[in-house]
């Protein structure tokens, strides 16, 4: 040790200390009795630990321990008691993330909403009006909202402070009165509710949904609205989305993370990826930036944003060439013949110039021998390679319905060996025009490529496989047309060299990764997987991106195989106890059908974003199209889709649907006939064809478990301007004459402040609460009972209160009961019992899917057919509403459970025994309309009902459902659930360790025997068809509008060109601010999911802010920053036609040049100064976005392209946007 003096000194320490100084005098050690450190023991001590979780939109579904001391929640740590996955696999413990770990901060934070609040100016007017109207709250509400001056007074004050405390009594009275007035004056479909992602807390979601559905309001969709719905999933699989649990990544031999940043967006699951590498899994990352996940990848493919389909198409080119043409892989060939539409025949249509285009599937209706069969137009045809004769195989849609199909809806091919290609047996070949859009501006073109053809039933046909090879540019000897000369032919789609110019990924790399993916799949029999997410799914053309991905997994036999296939992880969620949840939330136990609405179209119209379009719907058409969208605006396409019954549209008519029923009754005509007559005569119109008429505005919007204005509302500034009528920073100009809608009325004066009441229930202040008229205080996730599931793991587990709801907060179930009771009280005499005519779109998993043979557009309004409800227009169903009994119905399980049962994905469950069970378990309601029905009064009752009424949590129902399905399919299924037939999960079970669910026909995969969940394993292993036209996975879509867009087959479409569509500056432009432009650099503007928040949740949490940059920021590359003189942490502004954002810059070389990231949903509440550009408070990430609706997402009424809630609909995509980045003054004001 150092010097002797010092040593002597230190040695002396031994005499003064209780501890032992080491012989070498380095250190001291002590034994036992360390009272001085009791502080830390005290700090650690606690009174109890309660199991709960976080009801946040992340699909994490992590079970947590919440620690409580002296009645105060102190902190949380993760549960580690998940049931084992098996001895040779990692486990699910511990699931969680830093966001969840920081949650308890909210409980006592100053952003907590502790009491009900109403904006002062409104509350004052309400009190005065009520006094004027003898204490009648409904008249008081009318007094305010029907007076333009008064209405403007409180609407223009939205979002500008001035909230004052109210009581639950008064706040719920305002809300109830508004509902009564709106229903009476305008109709129940002018009321909307928004609460997303039931799986994260299904009782809380069901609370308001049940109320909205009982009164006849519209629940707004979320999956499509969030742009998380991969439209390719219904298109290809006929399924909303079904994906592997994260534990199944372990089984993959090859894993591509494609636009999915697993450590950030799947934090609790990411370990499966890091661990699977040790098992020899090869991992690829495709990401435009050096994202968190890239560090784990063996290779990083930095494809330019939005060009992913080009890379995937080139990989598909390699797979087709090397594994299907140069050599046939036996595994792949057998797989695609059985499980895909590749061998099915397609008719070719000859155009005037002698060239051909791909047309409709050949069906039994086209064959003389089969034309008279039941549902013949929905039975596709293939050729038997042994006989060369056409065969109508089992399993197509036509077998799913009707008597003849009983026992034949399966994928058994018997002795038939489907011919994949006609090349060997073709009589001739023809040139088919294949659409392409690969120029930088995305302009349409086409090129001729030959396919072998035959004549079958008088039709010139080829197979989907032959068309696919033509599309991908994989030539074969003897076929005419323009083909690539090789992988290095950069001029011909879709070669590896062709994609290099688009994506920036070297050609050789693209080819090699494609080859490796297939090699691994061939060797491992399908264990190649693509994890895909928002990075590739949030684009306008994401359906084509995903179809290019799915081509890779489906060609290589990876779907329905553990460790293989697609793994779509963005917003996908999974309400495992689906049937029970659906009955409660949609109030199907009392009345059917619900009014479920596609939210993107809703806001596109009702926030008047349609008034700012600068291009027609046919801008997107292919050169091979028929001009079906010519002259139409996007709003016109929405209106057409609605009136043909393809998509829902609420408000539906330009008349109160209650009055419409009365009118029909007065006319003595059945309501269906009456409505058709009125529509035909023009006396009745669709609200969606005149959305700016005051009678057609949405009037009430209730939001709970969501932050529409701070998170998901694309076109935020348009919301503020037109929906709310308050200040906004919209900078866009309205659509000029000549480009305006034709069928949709254009009103010269754009409405502002359409909405009369915005009500939000939340536990923290958000952009939505501060713009709301009424804010109700919610219990947090540590203060209530609820259920939680996900598709990332196979367990159901629970929320439990660690403390009772503090201050005046209430659980969502309790809050909505309060509203329902007040509403029923006011409505009983004012509304009474009414009839309500509900317009219902043609619905998936029903025979409605056979309404439009061949997916042909037939518009009754244009005289192309007769308006026939349920065929060429929406079904019209009359529903009785007993408005005085809403609260009573909400609190009890209704009688339709006994008589109609519950239907999920086409399987109907009989529920008599389960209703009896619930009556005993929950107790019966006494008196009133619900006399004797099982109680749903408490949130725990609802949990029990959801669990008892679902196959995944009730083995009796799972087995029953499979037995039902066995009859239709003729294949063995019930054994999948029989191992758990006697297992019924109760709420008490979920309060213990997470409980594994039961294999059920509600989902497509099997957990039987404790295996990992992978979607479509039941389809593959049991030959149960997919819910598509052919019953197989589709490469080809023959609907008119898909053909029009040139998207019959997978195709590359580049990001939208905002310079061409909206006259934004071209990407890369540096403007000096002259000529009236905003100075700065124009860049691609992306809003990926945030590391420090789950959407807007947690972005305001002090822990997350302390670990990040403490406020809104935008990431940009060092090269871009240098162009406009921006340094790290400088204040900058992002400006485009949609709005203005103020943020601080984060400058890093990990960002690609030309693209900035403003991570998702940083909200506007934290450290956002006033913008120089607008003089107003800086906006949020969605201040720069707006809605852009793709016509093909509005297709309905045809096979798998038939509407269901959150299953099909236009997406709220937002990735194609651009913005100018400018350096602003560093002196900011607030």
């Amino acid at each position: 040790m150092d010097g002797s003096l010092s040593e002597a000194f230190v040695r002396s320490r031994r005499f003064f200390t209780r501890g032992t100084v080491s012989q070498d005098l380095r250190t001291i050690s002590q034994v036992g009795g360390r009272e001085a450190d009791d502080f830390y023991r005290d700090r650690w001590s606690h009174d109890k630990v309660v199991r709960s979780t976080h009801g946040v939109n992340c699909t994490g579904s992590c079970s947590w321990k919440v620690y409580v001391k002296d009645g105060i929640i102190t902190w949380e740590t993760q549960q580690t008691d998940y049931p084992s996955v098996g001895p040779d696999s990692p486990e699910y413990e511990p699931r969680g993330c830093p966001r969840g770990a920081a949650f308890s901060w909210y409980t006592y934070s100053p952003t907590r909403v502790r009491y009900p609040y109403v904006r002062g100016v409104l509350l004052q007017m309400f009190r005065e009006a009520k006094a004027q109207h003898d204490g009648d709250p409904v008249k008081a509400w009318a007094h305010i909202v029907e007076n333009p001056r008064r209405a403007k007074t409180y609407k223009s004050a939205r979002g500008k402070g001035g909230l004052v405390r109210a009581t639950w009594e008064e706040a719920s009275e305002i809300v109830a009165a508004a509902h009564v007035h709106t229903i009476k004056e305008y109709g129940p479909d002018r009321v909307a509710g928004f609460s997303p992602i039931p799986a994260m807390s299904m009782v809380s979601h069901a609370s308001g949904a049940r109320f909205v559905n009982l009164i006849g309001g519209s629940m707004l969709s979320f999956y499509d609205w969030y742009a998380d719905l991969p439209v390719a999933s219904p298109q290809v699989f006929g399924d909303q989305t079904d994906v592997p649990e994260s534990g199944d990544w372990w089984n993959a031999g090859y894993l591509i993370m494609w636009g999915s940043n697993l450590p950030v967006t799947r934090t609790p699951d990411a370990h499966w990826m890091t661990e699977a590498r040790y098992r020899g899994q090869k991992v690829i990352a495709v990401a435009p930036d050096y994202a968190d996940n890239v560090k784990f990848a063996d290779e990083w493919l930095a494809a330019k944003p939005g060009t992913d389909a080009a890379l995937a198409m080139a990989m598909g080119h390699v797979v087709l060439k090397e594994f299907f043409v140069d050599r046939q892989s036996p595994y792949f060939t057998a797989y695609v013949k059985t499980y895909t539409d590749l061998p099915h025949l397609v008719r070719l249509e000859e155009a005037a110039d002698g060239a051909y285009t791909a047309g409709k599937f050949l069906t039994a209706a086209d064959l003389a021998d089969h034309a008279s069969e039941e549902n013949a137009a929905f039975k596709t045809v293939l050729l038997d390679s042994a006989t060369g004769e056409p065969v109508v195989p089992n399993g197509s849609l036509g077998h799913r319905y009707g008597e003849a199909g009983v026992g034949r809806w399966n994928l058994e091919l018997g002795d038939v060996d489907p011919a994949l290609s006609l090349l060997d047996t073709a009589t001739e070949s023809v040139l088919v025009r294949m659409p392409r859009f690969d120029t930088p501006d995305g302009a349409a073109a086409d090129l001729p490529r030959g396919v072998p053809v035959r004549r079958v039933g008088g039709h010139l046909v080829t197979t989907v496989f032959d068309l696919l090879l033509a599309q991908y540019g994989v030539g074969r000897p003897g076929l005419p047309g323009e083909w690539p000369t090789g992988y290095d032919d950069a001029g011909s789609p879709y070669t590896p060299a062709w994609q290099e110019a688009i994506t920036g990924v070297p050609a050789a790399t693209a080819a090699r990764i494609g080859r490796e993916f297939a090699q691994n799949a061939e060797e491992s029999k399908g264990r190649s997987m693509i994890v895909m997410g928002a990075g590739t799914n949030h684009w306008f053309h994401s359906d084509t991106i995903y179809r290019a991905f799915l081509t890779l997994t489906n060609l290589t036999g990876c779907q329905g195989v553990n460790g293989g296939g697609w793994a779509h992880y963005v917003g996908q969620e999974k309400v495992r106890p689906l049937t029970g949840y659906t009955q409660i939330a949609n109030a199907l136990d009392w009345n059917r059908p619900p009014r479920n609405m596609i939210q993107t179209a809703y806001w596109y119209l009702h926030t008047d974003q349609f008034r700012y379009d600068q291009f027609g719907a046919d801008t997107l058409s292919a050169t091979t199209g028929q001009g079906r969208l010519a002259g139409m605006s996007t709003a016109d396409v929405i209106a057409q889709s609605a009136r043909m019954g393809w998509m829902p549209s609420y408000p539906t008519f330009d008349r109160n649907p209650l009055d419409l029923s009365d009118d029909a009754a007065a006319a003595g005509t059945p309501v269906g006939e009456y409505v058709v007559d009125q529509l035909r005569s023009g006396a009745l119109g669709f609200a969606g064809e005149d959305p700016d008429a005051p009678a057609n505005h949405p009037r009430i919007l209730s939001i709970w478990r969501a932050n529409l204005l701070g998170s998901s509302g694309k076109g935020n500034e348009y919301f503020l301007k037109h929906l709310l009528g308050t200040d906004s920073s919209v900078r866009a100009t309205e659509t000029p004459e000549g480009q305006r809608p034709v069928d949709v009325t254009w009103r010269d004066e754009a409405p502002e402040g359409k909405l009369d009441l915005l009500m939000t229930i939340d536990f923290r202040q958000t952009s939505t609460t501060i713009f709301s008229d009424v804010v109700l205080p919610a219990a947090t996730w540590y203060e209530k009972h609820d259920l939680n599931t996900t598709d990332m793991h196979p367990f159901v587990h629970s929320f439990n209160p660690a403390i009772a709801p503090p201050w005046q907060t209430r659980t969502d179930w309790d809050a909505w009961q309060t509203i329902a009771e007040k509403f029923s009280e006011l409505a009983a005499t004012r509304l009474g019992v009414r009839k309500d005519v509900v317009a219902v779109p043609l619905t998936h998993d029903t025979a409605d899917a056979m309404a439009n043979p061949h997916g042909v557009v037939r518009d009754w309004k244009k005289g192309e057919c007769e308006p026939v409800p349920g065929v060429t227009m929406p079904k019209l169903v009359e529903v009785e509403r007993d408005y005085g009994a809403v609260a009573a119905k909400m609190n009890a399980l209704g009688p339709l459970m006994d008589t109609l049962g519950a239907t999920t994905k086409g399987v109907t469950f009989e529920l008599g025994a389960q209703v009896d069970y619930l009556r005993a378990k929950n107790g019966a309601v006494r008196g009133g309309v619900a006399d004797g029905r099982p109680s749903l009064r408490k949130d725990v009752h609802v949990c029990e009902a959801i669990l008892a009424l679902s196959g995944t949590t009730n083995g009796h129902l799972a087995t029953q459902g499979f037995k039902t399905l066995e009859k239709r399919t003729g294949v063995r299924l019930a054994d999948l659930a029989e191992e758990h037939e006697g297992k019924q999960i109760t709420f008490a079970d979920t309060q213990g360790p997470p409980v594994p669910v039961i294999t059920s026909p509600e989902w497509s995969g099997s957990e039987t025997g404790g295996r990992r969940y992978s979607p479509f394993t039941i389809n593959v292993e049991r030959k149960k068809p997919w819910h598509t036209l052919t019953g197989r996975m589709h490469f080809y879509l023959d609907h008119d509008w898909l053909t029009e867009l040139g998207e019959g087959l997978p195709v590359y479409r580049p990001p939208l060109n905002m310079a061409a569509l909206f006259a934004e500056p071209a990407l890369g432009t540096v403007s000096d601010g002259s000529a009236g432009q905003v100075e700065g650099l124009t860049v691609r503007y992306l809003t990926p999911h945030n590391k420090w928040s789950i959407h807007s949740e947690y972005q305001d949490n002090l822990f997350m802010l302390s670990l990040s940059r403490g406020g809104q920021n935008i990431w940009m590359s060092d090269r871009d920053a240098a162009k406009v003189g921006i340094k790290d942490n400088d204040w900058i502004e992002a400006v485009n036609r949609n709005g203005v954002v103020v943020a601080r810059a984060i400058v890093s070389h990990r960002m690609p040049e030309g693209t900035v990231y403003m991570y998702h949903a940083q909200d506007r509440l934290i450290d956002v100064p006033l913008a120089e550009t607008s003089g107003k408070r800086g906006g949020i990430h969605n201040s720069l976005t707006r809605l852009l609706v793709k016509p093909s997402h509005l297709v309905g009424g045809y096979a798998q392209l038939t509407y269901a809630f959150n299953y099909l609909g236009p997406t709220g995509n937002q990735r194609d946007e651009v913005t100018i980045i400018r350096k602003r003054s560093q002196d900011v004001t607030y």
Partner: protein, 457 residues
């Protein structure tokens, strides 16, 4: 031989996803209180990066840890202990709050309470030190995910030594995460720096604690700790540090940071060491010899002599048993994949790290060779996206050989297991190439990949 037991941790950086859950759960449990707003017993740094507090690794500046005198004797870098004592009233080498970060909150209540006004209410940041409005210029994790910010990367002390190896270009971006807690050193310089004798190692498990009664707030420990893992509570005026969650460890629970680690990358276990050898090992002349020297201090818990000596030293049988099944022992001594953090500080740290491997295959692919071929993989490690030299600066005082050996073992494990995964015959030559048997490699794979709860702790 004087057998002592030490509770130790290994973190597998190759699995760290940089999520910071460990930081949050630790902070919530331990330092979520006034006086410790800026304190993170556990923090996670993005490397390259400046660390927390900034540039703490620059011992030229901060004078933490030990150094050898010309005569080869150990001395606190901050100066001999007498000098240390003489300067207790003015400690010039203490990081300022700005080097950590100025903690703040927001006036959240304005969101609810704002009167009717022209603009949307907004919560502005307020310093928790001064109470004033502030512009946020640094945080607990400011350079997260930057891979070295353009503005600050050149100040990363570890980069200074290998500047020619690293370019801050998009195509060459690399980064990884470094979670850090107190090292609970065998030779703690914080304890040696404390004029009050308030810092001690627990006899039974070696956990280093600050006696809250004896601490007089001189802050010499803050200076003395080269990892800057002792903090000053400005409210109580005492030093505080990571306690290795001793109230949990004592009842058989892992530390909060370990149990809540969703990357499942933390291992906790007991290590037996020979206390008589510590000084000699810490005095190893060459910095690059310190890694091996520290391993030499550890005792083989299966050696009957060690077991006997442990018994004589009063170490209970179940503790010896724990040392035998310790994942720490396996990772450090059996598989030799874990390395100490900055052994050159000579404190004999007891939180060790498995260096990050990836990505590796793209380097091979660029050469046009088969990336799955073992030989090619090994060759590629020299050209890793993360420069081996950077890792060596962190873990082996700049000696790339031990880092190289670890990375080769990890790469070999992946190759070996891929054959098994795909149902091929396993290739014994792969483990042999890195000096392991097939069984050893398979067992290592299970410990690193399957890593069940009761095998991690």
């Amino acid at each position: 031989m004087r057998v002592m037991a030490q509770m130790a941790m290994v973190m597998n950086l190759d699995k760290c996803i940089g999520c910071h859950t460990c930081s949050v759960t630790c902070k919530q449990a331990w330092t979520n209180r006034s006086g410790t707003e800026y304190v993170w017993f556990n923090n996670v740094e993005t490397r390259p990066g400046l660390g927390y507090p900034r540039t703490y690794e620059n011992q030229e500046k901060w004078k933490g840890g030990w150094e050898l005198t010309k005569r080869g004797r150990m001395r606190l870098r901050a100066g001999g202990r007498l000098k240390n004592l003489m300067t207790i009233f003015s400690n010039p080498i203490l990081p300022s709050i700005g080097e950590y970060y100025e903690p703040w909150t927001y006036d959240y209540s304005t969101l609810t309470d704002a009167p009717a006004q022209e603009h949307t209410p907004v919560a502005r940041p307020k310093s928790l030190i001064s109470g004033q409005n502030m512009k946020i210029e640094w945080s607990a994790n400011w350079d997260d995910d930057l891979g070295g910010a353009t503005e600050t990367a050149h100040r990363d002390p570890m980069l200074a030594k290998i500047a020619d190896k690293v370019k801050f270009e998009f195509e060459q971006t690399f980064m990884f995460y470094l979670p850090r807690i107190c090292e609970h050193c065998l030779n703690p310089s914080c304890a040696a720096s404390c004029p009050s004798g308030a810092i001690y190692k627990r006899e039974e498990d070696g956990i280093v604690l600050v006696d809250q009664d004896k601490c007089r707030g001189w802050r010499k420990c803050v200076s003395g700790c080269p990892y800057k893992k002792v903090y000053f509570n400005h409210r109580t005026g005492k030093a505080e540090k990571c306690t290795f969650c001793f109230p949990r460890i004592e009842v058989g629970l892992p530390t909060v940071c370990a149990e809540t680690c969703v990357g499942r990358l933390r291992y906790i276990g007991l290590v037996l060491y020979d206390a008589d050898k510590v000084l000699e090992a810490a005095s190893t002349p060459d910095d690059t010899g310190l890694y091996e020297a520290q391993r030499e201090v550890f005792l083989d818990p299966f050696d009957p002599e060690v077991v006997r000596a442990a018994e004589q030293a009063g170490i209970a049988r179940d503790w010896v048993d724990a040392a035998q099944r310790s994942p720490i022992h396996a990772l450090i001594n059996t598989y030799k994949v874990a390395l100490p953090l900055h052994p050159e500080y000579r404190t004999m740290p007891m939180v060790w790290y498995i260096p990050p491997l990836s990505p590796v295959v793209d380097v091979v692919a660029e050469t046009g060779e088969d990336a799955e071929d073992t030989g090619n993989l090994f060759a590629a490690i020299d050209a890793l996206r993360i420069p081996v030299e950077y890792l060596a600066e962190l873990f082996t005082a700049g000696d790339v050989a031990p880092v190289d050996a670890v990375l080769k073992r990890l790469a070999a494990m992946r190759c070996y297991m891929r054959d098994i995964n795909l149902g091929r015959d396993p290739d014994a030559s792969i483990p042999a190439a890195v000096g392991m048997s097939e069984e050893e490699m398979y067992d290592m794979y299970r410990l690193l990949a399957i890593a069940k709860y009761d095998e991690r702790y």
